[in-house]
Amino acid sequence: MTAPTVTVTAPTAARASRGLWGDAARRLLRNRPAIVGLICIAIFISAAILAPVIAPYGPLAGTLAERYQPPSLQHLMGTDTQGRDEFTRVLYGAQVSLQVGVIAVFLALFMGGVIGAIAGGLGGKIDAVLMRIVDVLLAIPGILLAIGIIAWLDRGMLQLMLAIAITYVPVFARLLRGSLLALREADYVLAARSIGASRVRILLRHMLPNALTPLIVSATLVLATAIIDIAGLGFLGLGPPDPRTAEWGTMLTDARKFLELAPWLVYFPGLAIVISAIGFNLVGDGLRESLDPRLRR
């Protein structure tokens, strides 16, 4: 803390503040693990976006004659059980993971955020009812819930996103509600009320931004778990409806039976899952540290 002397100014004050986000970004870039995470995410995202450009073959192109080829210059990661280029399919797999993962997390963030804001902002009976519903959802193991939802709604990309989103709604709802409840007692909320700020204004301007930080951090971390969930569901045969779609989990299932014959078919999709999940985890942790303006280094 700064010494409580009037003439002393905090060291950071000399530099003009660039707002919460500018400061956070600067702090994030000084965090080494977060940089590693950002690199992982950059690889992951560029693989997804640039797949059609950099992939040497089509994701479905290949002949049975060319199957089980070990990694070579023609096929960087070898070929799979259908003779398709594994490198191409890993790149296209990133597309599915990124798309489903990001949409699912945003969906969960939105639904959970609305539930949490209503519960934490209004309190009382509404809060009690909403939280009991959330408790029920939370009591069911995540992947089981997702399997149940897909079993109920049938296989499909949209269903996949929805299933994963619903799994994480309770996480965000509880998190936001908890932060809002704690913030209701905060001195600056009382101070804001004492200058005549309205309830909605206090909720949106004073409480939500303060509650947002843990939400953003946990969204990043949940994205990592969601990528693993997508692969897990794919592995269980509940992934994209078209079995030919390049999806990391589905690719693992296909390769499982030929583990001795073509182990690289397990290594590369597995590595892709690990890299993307670790990336989001590291960045999530980095964000946690950098988004708190009180944590100064």
């Binding site: 700064t2 010494a3 409580p4 002397t5 009037v6 002393v8 100014t9 905090a10 950071t12 004050a13 003009a16 503040s17 707002g19 919460l20 905060a186 001195d187 600056y188 009382l190 101070a191 804001a192 009320r193 004492s194 200058i195 005549g196 700020a197 309205s198 204004r201 301007r205 004073h206 931004p209 303060n210 930080t213 303006p293 009180r294 100064r296």
Partner: protein, 368 residues
């Protein structure tokens, strides 16, 4: 008519442990431009009284159970919430104890000040910003233009309290309530902040209610003092009179429990023995009786009314000629007040009815 007239204010908290009798019928007035000190130990109801005036009691436990609060002709107890919101900040502003936590950590000072100004005044962002710079300069913050974009954590404690004062004064309120504004500050900063507060409220003609547990703080700051104990006002007088002739045993006790530097022969500090009463029980008798050296038998069963020290004096509730009121059955004489203990021959404080001093249940930390 006085700016603020509080009459028989009763505030209770309904909690799981029972009802807390926080404020038990408090009446006082504040004149426009006047400074009033509200003194008492933690939990005596001084903060709760003012939160009730602002209608900011913690919900759902806190309730105004009775009495009226007339501010500028409006009854604040029955005023609709939307009107009350208009009034807060514009007419009555508040400064809190801990400047470390009273500013929003994720908003810049500019955002918070501009918001305060624009919540009540139709001005553009630029005008509000200009006003914010003016205000920061007024409270003595160097280079206000650059400091506007800082966050609360980039200020020291004293600076933050200055920012809070600037925000409270932004709309030139008629009444400012400062709840222990210097308690969390370094001693060297305390005097500066108090002086600033006094200068600015005097210049703007803002009435000030200064809540504190420190008699030293109110001594140089206020025109009048209310001494509170266990939710009652036990003595009220102009600051001069109160220090010259304290007439309630509790006030006497308070004065003897603070060190004085201007005494030729430093006397020993006399602590007030015991703890305040458990406010979960409805008050019976004088609340101070269990700790009082002057208590009579009647004190255990009858709570004395707040009456003029001089029964022939003209009653004045506020202003420089406010009547000295005391709620005590057995007032200490001036000599006793100076000595800090009863001097009467053979006087013994009346034992509690039943003969045993009642063991007080451990008091929960109730809202200060």
């Amino acid at each position: 008519m006085a700016l603020l007239e509080v009459t028989d204010l009763v505030v209770r908290f309904r909690t799981h442990e029972g009802t807390i009798h926080a404020v038990n019928g408090v009446s006082f007035e504040v004149e426009a431009g006047e400074t009033l000190g509200l003194v008492g130990e933690s939990g005596c109801g001084k903060s709760v009284t003012n939160l009730a005036v602002m209608r900011l009691l913690p919900k759902p436990a806190g309730h105004i159970e009775g009495g009226t609060v007339i501010f500028d002709g409006l009854d604040l107890v029955t005023l609709p919430e939307s009107d009350m919101r208009e009034l807060r900040g514009r007419d009555v502003a508040m400064i809190f104890q801990d400047p470390m936590t009273s500013l929003n950590p994720v908003l810049t000072i500019e955002e918070q000040m501009v918001e305060t100004i624009r919540a009540h005044r139709k001005t553009t962002k630029q005008e509000a910003r200009k006003r914010a710079i003016e205000l920061l300069a007024m409270v003595g913050i160097p280079k206000p233009e650059t400091r506007l974009s800082s966050y609360a954590h980039q200020f020291s404690g004293g600076m933050r309290q200055r920012v809070m004062i600037a925000m409270a004064l932004a709309l030139e309120p008629k009444l400012m309530i400062a709840d222990e504004p210097t308690t969390a500050l370094d001693v060297t900063i305390q005097a500066q902040v108090l002086e600033l507060l006094r200068r600015l409220t005097t210049e703007a003609g803002t009435a000030l209610i200064l809540i504190t547990h420190d008699l030293g703080v109110v001594a140089g700051m206020t025109q009048r003092i209310n001494v509170m104990y266990a939710g009652f006002i036990v003595e009220t007088a102009t600051t001069e009179t109160l220090f010259a002739s304290p007439s309630h045993p509790y006030t006497v006790g308070l004065l003897h429990s603070i060190p004085r530097l201007d005494e030729v022969r430093p006397e020993t500090l006399v602590p007030i023995e015991g703890t305040p009463p458990d406010q979960r029980r409805a008050p019976v008798g004088c609340p101070f009786a269990p700790r009082c050296a002057w208590r009579l038998e009647v004190c255990w069963s009858d709570n004395p009314a707040l009456v003029p020290l001089d029964p022939h004096a003209r009653l004045r509730a506020s202003g420089p000629e406010a009547t000295h009121l005391v709620a005590c059955h057995n007032r200490p004489t001036p000599e006793e007040a100076a000595a800090g203990r009863p001097l009467r021959e053979g006087f013994v404080a009346a034992p509690p009815p039943g003969g045993v001093v009642e063991e007080l249940a451990p008091t929960e930390e109730v809202l200060a």
